[in-house]
Symmetry: C2
Subunit: 490 residues, 2 copies
């Protein structure tokens, strides 16, 4: 049971972890703790394993023995290790993987609820955190009008400091709801009053909240195929039966034989990820179908602010006379992701229910950030920033297309992309995985298309984010990408 650390082939891992931790500029003791915790949690150091004596480790690492002792003491206090005088320090049981069953019931992932396990098995949906080429989905935060934002923030803090610190309206700060309603009426043809707007933290929260509120286990949901992973995850967490429905150049294209949906999830302005626009006949047919079956439609207008060619099509919600459509928008792309503000425009029948759900889920959104966002819109900065971004991102899309055509044809086949922050390019069958690996080795992120399919048949491709990259960064990234060996993986 008790093995010296060197007996385990993976045991050197935590020394590497320690080296990584050294670049964080934190105290050595804390670096050491962090490396050990990670090694234990990742099972590189398994239950019962003996750690090196503090004297040995101190000498190995070139740090003082006091530091190692302090780190061990800290880890013992946290329960990661046990120390026995005269025997040594051992990885504690509850923090590590183990091959032996304990005598008492043991906390483990097996003690999640069935719904929790399903959620974890789904893998969640993590947003891209670094503005590397070609991570998708982020605007260029470097061009955000920081000074204007800071001025408005300070004004609000001075003017309303105490009022904005207290508990807020779960439906959202009224001036922001009014600003959103007014913007959506003008820009997106949405039929919206402030009373119908519910402010949330993110599209993801909206999808999860609506999934819980509207879907019972086994209910059928139509999802665009390929489509947005966050929606699939949210409705899967609700236990729904997810039905992938093919998308063509006119958007969602349902067969007449499909089982009627309880809910249809759509990105009609720029279908995610293909970029196609849902045609008017299809819009009317889907509304008719929703009326007929009493289905809800969620219209996720996630990046409609960024339309580059011709006039953007108005919202589907604006065509709805029967209160079937829930309109969803976010400030994560038009302003910045960490603002944590998104919104839904609800049919009146859902306003109270969704607001009540919000009180049970997480109360309300930051009042301060809502107030600043409202000022930003009302004073015209939002419209100005959108105009600026549209022009900038269009030029970046054009550049990326040019560069791809010059350097990556015929390997990559870009699809028409009248808007959005990323460009879908198709790859020959079977090449997505091996070429993505090569790209990754070159320091590039190439979000894959295959992962956006929920059904059996998937196409190979890359969804290349361009909006967050300067012209120079786009040129360099494409030049780097041109170095991949196209024959590999064949």
């Amino acid at each position: 049971m008790t093995r010296p650390i060197h007996a385990n082939p993976g045991a050197k891992l935590w020394l590497n972890l320690f080296e990584q931790a050294q670049h964080t500029g934190r105290p050595i003791r804390e670096q050491l703790c962090q490396a050990l915790r990670q090694a234990i949690r990742s099972h590189a150091l398994a239950y019962g394993m003996r750690l090196p004596a503090s004297r040995t480790l101190a000498s190995d690492l070139g740090v003082s023995r006091i530091t190692v002792e302090a780190a061990y003491a800290q880890l013992e206090a946290e329960g990661y290790i046990h120390r026995h005088v005269g025997k040594g320090s051992f990885v504690a049981q509850q923090f590590a993987g183990s091959s032996t069953k304990p005598a008492h019931a043991q906390p483990s992932s097996a003690r999640l609820s069935a719904r929790g396990q399903r959620l974890v098995d789904g893998g969640g949906c993590r947003d891209p955190r670094l503005p590397t080429a070609f991570a998708a989905g982020s605007p260029d935060l470097r061009v955000f009008p920081h000074e204007i934002w800071r001025r408005l923030l300070n004004q609000q803090l001075r003017r309303n400091q105490t009022a904005l610190l207290g508990y807020g309206d779960p439906q959202g700060y009224l001036p922001l709801r009014e600003a959103i309603a007014s913007y959506l009426q003008q820009a997106r043809g949405v039929k919206a009053s402030a009373e119908q707007v519910l402010v949330l933290t993110s599209s993801q929260q909206a999808l999860h909240l609506l999934g819980s509120l509207l879907l019972d286990a086994g209910d059928t949901v139509w999802l665009e195929e390929p489509g947005y992973r966050g929606a699939r995850t949210a409705f899967d967490a609700a236990g729904a039966r997810l039905l992938p429905v093919a998308v063509d150049q006119d958007g969602l294209c349902p067969h007449a034989t499909l089982p009627p949906p309880r809910l249809i999830y759509l990105t009609p302005s720029h279908q995610y990820p293909t970029g196609s626009t849902l045609s008017l006949p299809r819009r009317l047919a889907l509304l008719q179908l929703a009326r007929q079956h009493g289905s809800w439609i969620i219209e996720d207008d996630y990046d409609s602010e960024f339309h580059y060619d011709g006039r953007p099509v108005s919202s589907l919600q604006g065509l709805d006379d029967s209160g079937q459509v829930i309109y969803l928008g976010t400030f994560s792309k038009a302003l910045f992701p960490s603002l944590r503000l998104a919104y839904v425009v609800l049919p009146p029948a859902l306003i109270d229910a969704a607001t009540t759900a919000r009180t049970v889920y997480d109360g309300h959104s930051s009042q301060l950030l809502q107030a600043v966002c409202a000022d930003f819109i009302e004073q015209g900065h939002f419209a100005a920033h959108l105009r600026y971004q549209r022009k900038l991102y269009r030029s970046r899309r054009d550049l990326l297309l040019d560069e791809i055509n010059r350097k990556l044809k015929p390997l990559l086949t870009p699809l028409p992309s009248p808007g959005g922050l990323q460009l879908l390019t198709l790859l020959p069958d079977g090449l997505e995985a091996p070429l993505s690996q090569q790209a990754s080795a070159l320091g590039l992120v190439t979000p894959g298309l295959r992962g956006l399919y929920g059904g059996q048949e998937a196409k190979d491709g890359w969804l290349l984010g361009f909006a967050a990259l300067s012209a120079e960064e786009i040129r360099q990234a494409v030049a780097t990408l041109a170095n991949i060996d196209r024959s590999k993986g064949k």
Copy 2:
């Protein structure tokens, strides 16, 4: 079907609403729209009802006919009303209550999922929004060190502006997790490393997330009786079987015959709302029971920062050697509610699962506010603000007790309250409802005790918030409360 507005006894309501709206300083057209929307949504104006002609209404209200026409046009655009030339304007169907069934499937609350309906039927849990006497649960936001906060906020905005705008770590901003872990180790005896901390928006989000992750429908949850309503709502939304367990002066007091729990929800430091502290023997017994049955324990340490008499008892989590306890804390009370930052310290087995759930629920918390909060703690302002608040709130608690003893005895019987932001006082049987009504008529909020019981037997009482009230406000409020007629309701 079509009735003139004057035929309905409730129809004058919207004129009152209009008068209320007039004090908001918004344009008259918008005030009128707002009043009409509210009247329609609240069913004061029912489906098919005819609105007054614009000329008549303009004259009644003393506003121009153009204004009324504009408001009607707006409401028509929003779908609230239909207008027919030569006939008049009528309340539209989808926005109002109706006694007739429509031909097609109709959006209504009946189209919620079973889980959604359960959630709505539960009524949600709304936080007190106004710092009126004696609303419970809020600190005094007037004594918050606004200037320090604003300075730190501006520093972060200048230093890290772009980095803090992007997508964040779903587990939480690392420096904040480190600051939380370090604070909890020192102040609460919690065994915590930054790796175990998950930053969330609120206690409510924590309870809802953990409820989904750990509870299947029908799973037994032990809840303190009386107890915190937000917890009950969250676990009820998860479909759990809620079992009220009596609380005495030593905290939760389970009978040996109770069915074993999947989860126990506890407020061991200051039981909510009785203020009792869970005794050490009970703590050990509950930990033993949890180990035996593989139960999770959620330790909600919601206001442990505010302990006034003697030394506060350390956390239950610190006694747990088996990873059964999930520790929960919030900045809503120690700092301010609209910060939207709370945290859980997770047993290692739950870290990845809970973080994945966060990605599906709402992504992550505002990075900017997390960064400022981390600075606030690390630079010592948090500790200083806590010291200041503790001293201030203790004096307010003492004053409230004095005033009650002088003016409201023997009607009110205060319970011992060694800490917290509110004082539980018992009332003679049957008096809570009638006296609360009287207090409300006098402009006072008196949060009731009965609503905090989940079982059959409830006691009458008031949970009087004192922390947010100045000495003068406490004196005035008690003097006002002394005017209630104690004989009423008998």
